[in-house]
Symmetry: D2
Subunit: 455 residues, 4 copies
């Protein structure tokens, strides 16, 4: 499919300088990043979950950026046909294309824009804030109602139907949905909420999708997403979730989902965050209990009892999930009011720099992770999160896959009990078929090494 | 559940005179009709398909109408709990309550309001027009895009999923949906279209539900319906469909659906309507072919070959249905433009008075129907439609059921070939389990008598 | 100027039956009434204050009503050029044309539509309510803020500037304006309020103009009016003012203004209306004190001291007027709340049938008025109002002028003190040049006869 | 008057970092600049035209910036009472306060944000573009309709009334107005257009005011301005006018107005700008011809005949002005279309760096200006513009006044004919009383020196 599109009004005011940046095919230019994200956006609905597969399949795809009345025109060449209806780009996808453009330009413009006088952690938070504000995602004075839903993009039909039912119950209660954009647990809650919002006549319902260039090809935004935000990397994406969201639901998923759980525990276990209400529910349908049992056991073993108090597990009860979330949001509202804190951005939450800084999953970095309990629990949580992040990269991300192909599996070291727990966790993901779409040929991208023992 | 509701703004301007009418429990007053319709609206989602069952189950239900600041307040006593979320009436149902109120008051006010100088047929059409206009259902200058979907309220899961997929494909193409309000084939297309409209960012999508007091309890409006219209009787309801809709889809259903098909054929077979494009598609999923085969055979036998050219049958192809409808709508648009005709109301269609006048399915009226081919085909179509209408009444409508209980089954007379065809049609509905929800005990409410033969 | 216009969307849904009524040039048809009102609307800004002058000057004007896509198209032939800018009808005037059409059609449809069971007075009030509701003029739940401004259409420049300043101060306080539509004191407050509303960013400011066919030609609606309502006659127009308005300001005017004052006193002097707060301010700039002194003296003499407590006179202080009105509106709000009364329509006010019924100012009717104090004060107020109404008719209304030309001046009879007071009132209007635009040749259309004395 | 205000929604999303900047009273902080601009905004309607007078009069004024729910709250202490109605800040002024805040923060954030790779002139233009875009002033796809009106803030009543009439005629034709924000010729056209826009039902009329910190105190934005933009300095303000505006009208004014005329001629006389249509009309009422005669003569003498072809002079004919502007805008539209140029920002216009760079009117800089005709006409125009800019500064701007007090009048050197022409121009401004509000004591802030002659 080949087609031309022009931006929606509010994005049709680009400077020639910006257009030139988008056209720039050199290293520093935005062209290649934009092409890759554009393809991901256009490829929604597809089942491919590796960037490489997507890029290969659509080798012939191109996006040409030209000026038209000093705005921008995109010529899409050989784009995935499923993005079009009767030759017209689906409107939601059309919006996503220009959301990508908006965020890439903004980040490119600000890249060195650290605020003088701010420490590194505050500076990153400020950047996340600025990006979300620029994307119009911060709406002041609206009572906390944004529920972040995490979970796998490749889940069973029963799990998918369950996420829809949970989304429906939340939508009936006026909650908005924020996810990581892709299919599966990221799409179901939005679909369910859409029907409920229609029944409740919620006119400005928000379906926020937060992605980042490294993952977007594997998790194409579904077109129900009506606010797509592209954060520059995975850490800022995770920070965007926790600062924008008011409540959090985790559906069954795979390693990526476990990584998100550890990220959030790394934050919540910080002393300074304990006072803050933070609704966090793990839920799935009857038949999917195993996932959360596994995860719960892993957390208990590695981070201890206290960590398990940060969340609640509800099995097969969408109604209870929605009511529990409603109560949690009421607490958040009360807390924000009492502390004079903004509704639209969680400034109060302290995120340690270790969780904000980019973790580059090289073989060395993976080997250097310290997976041991003789350190504060939130530090261990952060280390575990890095380990899982590396495994996700090795599974589905382009550079990770290439690194594994070149240097063999990552090595992870640590205290035997922790390594054992990790081993069991990952084993059970494999046996639950949660490790990748192509289960048959799954070959682990990592090797576990127990300290003081031969692995 | 007991709760108080006040109207939306534009309905909160009632005169004391109108409030008094609503409160009036005497014969001429509106109270009892309003209570019955209000209950139907509140009972949405339920599976009961007989008015009597609904009324019995909610014997304790009451709606008290009082004045508040010279507007109206409704106190709902013992209302079905499913209409509420956390103690709040679902917004869509809230709107439906006041749509009922709006239309009952309007009809009550106009009841004798025949326009001087107009013949009876024109006068009925004018009334339908006035009622639709008063309900804000006529939107001028919008390109023909209203697709009426008919079909059963009690269909199989596969059929229901299929109606959603057809609705989705039509929604992607910007079409709006109009149905008879209830569950099943009346709800699925709206649900599918809602998701598609979200993806296409259609902001003012229309989900029009047209009901009438006699049927509303059995076909509770689903809350996605965002324009509920209560016509005073079944004939005006049918006329509203054909004058408001631009395209027509029939999904599998039962006798009621067959009645609608005969109604429309009774119109389209009129000489004066032949020039008009009128997209009419019968469609269902693989596995449901039997329904349309049966119907098609019945039409061919009774009304002849020509009648079968009025519609197209598409099996198991939502995409093809949507594209066929899109082309049909384009033809309608072209025709209306060429003839200087309004987009918002099909004035051109000539509906014979026989199809406009209320058919009261008494035993005598049923017996007097002439089901024979030695009359113009459109006249026979109208007679057959009455026969089926009577059977629907005998099956699910309160007064019909009571009449059958008292006087035994209706008798239908006619030419043997027609009666045989009718027999086969109804037999096959029974064997396809399309006659009523309670299939086990189904006992026919009619007896067929072949002219010149002992029945 | 000759031009074609089509309606705004919400009026482009007419039935062929309605279009035929508009085209009907026979006695019962609407054509001639519509043509006359349309001309008035198009002639705004002109200084002519007699219907006859307007009709004469634009003898060649015609409006042809035709169908276009079953809506209506108006072809304006030889219309006043001032209504157009670069060949396009000014949008405000465009809206007025179709407001006229809307109200004439509505009244024509309902003319005999008296509600069964209502007494004549309630029935008239109900009709006023229905017409205002149909014109969308009743907006529920909005705090009382509608200020009716009465006063002359032909006032001095200083008085006109003063009305603008009062309008400005009221607009700053968020008040809306309702007037009789014409120039002078009917236009100034709207103009001032428009500037203030712009400064206060009031987006949906209301400038309501209420007219009637008999007066509209002499008081063309100025295009700032964004809600034009055509009541069927002068009595319903007056009732619309007092039921819709929450506060009342009277600027200097002529006999018509005095008539309005007496109408309102006829209501307020009713025992049953005494408890109701009813802000009523007479105001004018320095230099215009004489008008209200005259009126005040007349009221004191004829209706007594108590009548003078119904209003407040403020000279040359727009700020004080606005603050006084603000306080008055707060009282109205409190009263409506306390009594559970609607904000959007003053149902509580009792208007005696004598003030609701059409007063046809024939020579006989004028002669039969009883202008004497030995009757309840509110009855005398009503009689005086009729007397003044007749004088206005004789001055500027077509049938009145013709009657005078034929039969000579009206005769008015009454108690000498009342007649004397009336004499002085009218004399002083003449000497203040408030009797008509053409002061030079003013010849009174009435003769005063003192009971028991030769006149 | 002392009061607290919180921002409108879209500005209530500040970071703590930004709030700290606003609170910062040190040199680099924004506090003092913000306080000064806030006072100017609150002081609208006042007649004081020197920053110093304003600051003196409201010595006690303070604005305290505090955080409230991580947004910002402004506490206004001892603010001018005229900004309030019944204790509430006028909404337009409320918006202006936060527009100031928005722009000061934006500029502070970007101050060093020159774009790599752009030459200095392009970089300044890019900055102007970014600031206007951030202020939402660039609306794509809207047909050219923004008319910039220049002229004096202190003009006669007749001239003021005339500017209203011109604004009215332009408003009737759907044009928007952009001015420098203050009273007089900057307010009148907006007021006239407001009435016309009300009549034409223009819902999103734009009244753009562009100011800068150095001038805002002397030209308080009138509250009709619904888009206030604070550019960082006078040169960027002038560039904003010419890139945002589509047509230009100059009403009578003083030296500042003449400066604007020379600025625009400095641009239009550039060879590369000649092909571009650029509607430029000088107009005033009967009685004000002298101003433009003087200016026209000055231009003819100094810049030559060709320069006089850049503008048209229309005396006392608002209707002709509006029609001439309408035609000019049509040409602009056609040109932009033909050249594929944006409607919302005039990228094509080449502004020489000399006119973009800040001219600091020190005594040395003034002395070094070369006011002689042996240089390209557009260079001389730029030099003359600087001379006049310096005189404005010496007259009304705080630092300029102080410099004059300290070092005596500026000295201007140049070719005798040019200096003579300048002398006459300024003399005639004095005699027309256009030099300052306080005409009595006007003492020139400059001395003219003719090259080769003793001055």
């Amino acid at each position: 499919m080949t087609s031309s599109v022009t931006p929606l009004d509010n994005l049709d005011v680009l400077s020639p300088y910006e257009v030139a940046r988008l056209q720039d095919k050199t290293q520093g230019g935005l062209y290649s990043l934009f092409r890759q994200c554009a393809l991901a956006v256009l490829n929604c609905g597809s089942e491919m979950d590796s960037t490489r597969m997507v890029l290969n399949r659509f080798r012939e795809f191109d996006v040409q950026i030209s000026q038209k009345h000093r705005g921008v025109q995109l010529d899409l060449i050989n784009a995935p046909a499923a993005a079009f209806v009767d030759g017209e780009l689906i409107q939601g996808i059309h919006e996503h294309l220009f959301a990508v453009l908006r965020d890439l330009l903004y980040v490119a413009d600000k890249v060195d824009g650290c605020c003088e006088g701010l420490d590194p952690s505050a500076s990153i938070t400020n950047q996340v804030f600025n990006l979300l504000r620029h994307a119009n995602a911060l709406q002041p004075h609206v009572k906390p109602n944004m529920v972040v839903c995490w979970g796998g993009h490749s889940i069973s039909h029963a799990e998918y139907e369950y996420t829809k039912r949970v989304g429906y119950e939340m939508g009936l209660r006026g909650m908005n949905i924020c996810t990581g954009c892709g299919p599966g647990a990221m799409k179901g809650p939005m679909k369910g909420a859409t029907i409920a919002h229609a029944k409740q006549r919620v006119e400005r319902a928000r379906y926020v999708g937060i992605s980042e260039p490294g993952i977007i090809a594997a998790e194409s935004p579904n077109p129900i997403v009506n606010e797509l935000i592209i954060m520059p990397d995975i850490e800022r994406r995770l920070e965007a979730f926790v600062r924008l969201g008011h409540g959090f639901i985790v559906f069954p998923g795979g390693v990526g989902t476990a990584e998100e759980i550890l990220y959030i525990l790394g934050i919540l276990l910080q002393e300074s965050n304990r006072a803050q209400p933070f609704p966090l529910i793990f839920t799935g349908p009857a038949g999917s209990e195993a996932y959360f049992e596994t995860v719960d056991r892993f957390i208990r073993t590695t981070l201890g009892e206290r960590a398990t108090q940060c969340y609640e597990i509800i099995v097969d009860d969408p109604h209870a999930v929605a009511e529990c979330m409603r109560d949690g949001l009421a607490e958040v509202t009360a807390h924000r009011k009492a502390t004079g804190e903004a509704y639209h951005f969680n400034w109060q939450l302290r995120i340690p720099l270790a969780l904000q800084q980019t973790f580059e999953p090289t073989h060395a970095a993976m080997r250097n992770l310290c997976l041991s309990r003789n350190q504060p629990d939130h530090v261990l949580a952060a280390q575990l999160r890095c380990a899982l992040s590396g495994i996700v990269a090795g599974n589905v991300k382009e550079p990770g896959i290439r690194a594994i192909e070149e240097h063999g599996p990552f090595e992870l070291h640590g205290e035997p009990e922790v390594i054992d727990a990790l081993d069991q966790l990952l084993e059970s993901f494999v046996s639950q078929r949660r490790m990748k779409i192509n289960h048959e040929e799954y070959e682990p991208c990592f090797r576990l090494a127990r300290a003081g023992r031969a692995s």
